[in-house]
Subunit: 131 residues, 2 copies
Amino acid sequence: MLRITKITDYGFILLAHMANQDKELLHNAKDLSAAIGIPLPTVSKVLKILTQGGILQSHQGSKGGYSLAKPAGEITAAEIIEAVEGPVAITDCSSSEGCERNCVVSPSWQQVNTAVIGALSGLTLADMSNG
Amino acid sequence: MLRITKITDYGFILLAHMANQDKELLHNAKDLSAAIGIPLPTVSKVLKILTQGGILQSHQGSKGGYSLAKPAGEITAAEIIEAVEGPVAITDCSSSEGCERNCVVSPSWQQVNTAVIGALSGLTLADMSNG
DNA sequence: CTCAATTAAGACCAAATAGGTCTACTATTT
DNA sequence: AAATAGTAGACCTATTTGGTCTTAATTGAG
Ligand code: SF4
Ligand code: SF4
């Protein structure tokens, strides 16, 4: 339905919050949950996914937490979405797997897909955070 | 997951097929189903939705069928998607209803949404069909 | 060394959405 | 009248998404 998922949306909220504070500060899931107003288990899940996608760096154990893996100005919206939902593909045929029905409109979708990725790549977390 | 639905995809295939033929010719669901290779009930559903959305014109009764409501060059991809899935809104906050959690990243999503709609509005059915 | 705090991994279930089919009805042509 | 074709909408199934939970592994502090 041409919409990002809630998990992705939460990811952006969390990342923007982290980008607005001292870069070295470790944020733990519990504090973030309280700060953002999203239940802890969900926050925890999102942070885990973002870490697996290389957007966040984690530090385990007591006094552990998460921090941005790169400066906010170097993390693009496209990267974040890909980390959470996988490659951006507006149709089956604009993904790597493709589509067996290789129809006439496919090239147009490729164009649209490229344009969308372009828009998302031109926007960094720094742009999105404090504004 | 940032993807158009299958019904929408079918819609584009059907419309492109129709745009590639005589504008005045009426296409009935059965023939279109055979031509495109999508089951009749599904084709029928898609055509109905496109008609309700004002993209197609229908003609009931024997020898009836569907034809484009406007020249292919005047039907944009954005229009078609809206007709099938409703307004393009990449997040809750970029739709008319909005989102109660009015967060800091919302303005950025508005920008992205506008860019996406722009890309979709700049592409007509004529562009997408015979190309 | 032990304990508490904290992330990691993934199972799990419930809710929502999407995909697809079907039936009954209406309109038009012959 | 009969045949053809669209209209409306219910309906069920499959898939995806949202969210929670449990169990482990890791690390710092006392
Ligand atoms: S190839 Fe045609 S059918 Fe397959 S995804 Fe692309 S547009 Fe849709
Ligand atoms: S306002 Fe914030 S939370 Fe609500 S949809 Fe927009 S980005 Fe997501």
